[in-house]
Amino acid sequence: MILSGKFFRRCLLFLLAALAFAFATACWDYRDIDKRIFVGGVGIDKSAQDGRLEISFLIPVVRAIAGGEGGGGGGGGGEKPVIVESTIADTITEGARNLALRLNRDLFFEHMRIVIIGEEAARQGMEEIINPFMRQTEFNRRSRIAISEGEAGKIMGIKTTIEKLPSAYLESIYGNASLSGKFVEGDLGDFLHQIHESGGNALVGKVIPGADEVNIGGGAVVKHFKLAGWLSEEEIQGINFFLGKITGGSITVDDPRGKGKCTFVMLNAHRRLQLISAGAVPEFQLKVLAEGNVVETTEGVSMDVQDEEIIERLVSEKIRTEIFKGIARLQNDYRVDLLKLGEFLHRYHPKLWRNYEDRWEDIFPDVRISVSVTADIKNIGVTK
């Protein structure tokens, strides 16, 4: 008989194996990589329509990039490496869905590098804008975030020269903390962290659009989920010193003989914050130790031990001034504790913090902070 035991079993086994193949393809979540669009950046602006947002997606055109780099030269020549698609919607997700009517491929945010929020939109309130970045797992918390002076759409539209992709350019420029302390370094995760820690206050990067480049100097102050204003490059450097975030950058002072300028490049900076007294208003003391090299002096100046001491004094004076500038702006103009003093009290003096907690916003502007800075020259190069 054809249906003898052995044969039947083999047939069954074969059928089961075939079935297993059909089920093992993970078909529901399967998408061809060439059916996807990898969004490099998102820009969010207030739109002309009341209460709605204008959302720009920065989309790399993979074909154009590959063609250009392949050495063909003429091959991919005329094609633009990126396109910017804008749409008006109430939420970011709705915006992405709107694009389904215009683009044949799926928008895919896993590799998003940067989020830029336009000035107007940020002033209106950022709570609902940042929500999807928390809730959805597709947005990764490592992408950068910044607030643009003017429209975010302008930043999305810049034509970069050194990098092919604006999103890669925008992301990596925020990695320059070892070269300069005059911007706010941090990613989406850090930003969300600050926002939740303090109930809506955060220090965010600022970005100014140019013709074919951007400038990320300075920073933006977010208070109660709304953009309150800007901080200058010097003020940001001071605040970075205060927060212990300096890992590089330079300070230029008059040289000891008064003949020209002298540049001090920072290697790193340590800081120590202490609570001195806790009356109606707490008083703090900040000690900063900045270490670095002297890399430039005006021609003809050769240094001796005395000069070194003078330079150290001048540099620490300058740093001190910058720190005070930053503190003054936050205390007097914005009245928002981005120096993390509340957090410091909460962590190290939890019992005291309870007295201040409720009225902290009113207390913070009156908090007294004394600052002492020590600069330490480690190296002076190979000329005397």
């Binding site: 797992t137 939740h196 909460h346 962590r347 939890p350 913090w353």
Partner: protein, 367 residues
Amino acid sequence: MKMLTNNDKITVSQTVALLITTMLATGILALPRNVANKAGSDGWLLVLFAGVLSFFSSMIVGALVKKFPRDTFIEYSQKVLGKIPGYFLGIILILYFLFISAMSVRVFSEVMNAFMLINTPRGFIIATMLITSAYIMRHGIEPIARAGEILLPVLVFPIFAMYLTALPRADFSELLPFLDTPAKTLAIGTVQNAYNFLGFEILLMVGPYMRSPERVMWALLFAMGFITLMYLFIVVIVFASIGVEDTRILLWPAMSIIRTIMAPGGVFERLDALALALWTIASFTTINGMYYAGTLAAAHLAGVGEFKFFVTIFLPWVYLISTIPGNPLDTMRWTQISGVAGLVIAVIIPAIVLAASTVRKKGGSAS
């Protein structure tokens, strides 16, 4: 005790592996949030206290295993409390194990749906997982324990390594203020989070299958100590790298931080796939332990030697129970309920049985 067709015995190290892999479940992905909500930056203390508390509670089960080294809970509860109450407790035990299996597989499917298989129907994830579990279970306790033994290092070392990569971002001052929570809150939080250490109650059923039941306390101590350290490590890393406030809002904080870290040197930009693979193994072993204990209980209660039959019979029921919660928030509520049920099953009922057996002088010497 009736001889079962599959009466393989497991060694002490296999028992430890079985206990650890059963306890280690996807619940840990939500644990940092639970403790952060209870005690803020003192949350990690809750993990420590809950671990210690759970070890002492598990000693009750351990004492029962030592006292009745040849019987499962089904038999000795009937010996001690009488036929009918024992039978009744047996049914509750079966229902509990099936319910826990259902909840574990459900939580696993929630995590999968949230982080990787976004469009895959939940039922499909649950069904494939259950069928795989049922397959290994039909071969009896020894393969399950052996799978635990083999998978344990595969599971544990990568988990440690993975979370260690978050260290460069970690800010340990997030753990301050220290001891700022009232003692009462700490005590309540400890009890409320003790359910994360459940899993040792499978010893109620698995006890007589141990080759040397007199060393059950060592097995428990080792397994509990290990799990406590591991949970502590994960909670501290999560707190230090994303902060207590963020931990409070994220549904699965221990999974979300995987997305914020990048392996050193940029070799692997994304560790999500690895993390999900590891948690798949962790859930698989948990479901195995719980489900197996349930079918074993049913076989012993029915007095039949064949437990494989029950593996198949229970499959659709476990599936159905796992589809009860409507959404992730609902699942959270149900896992809380299952935690309470677990404390009753794993601590209170064994305590009653132990007390009764001492009073009525039943069972062997509690050496």
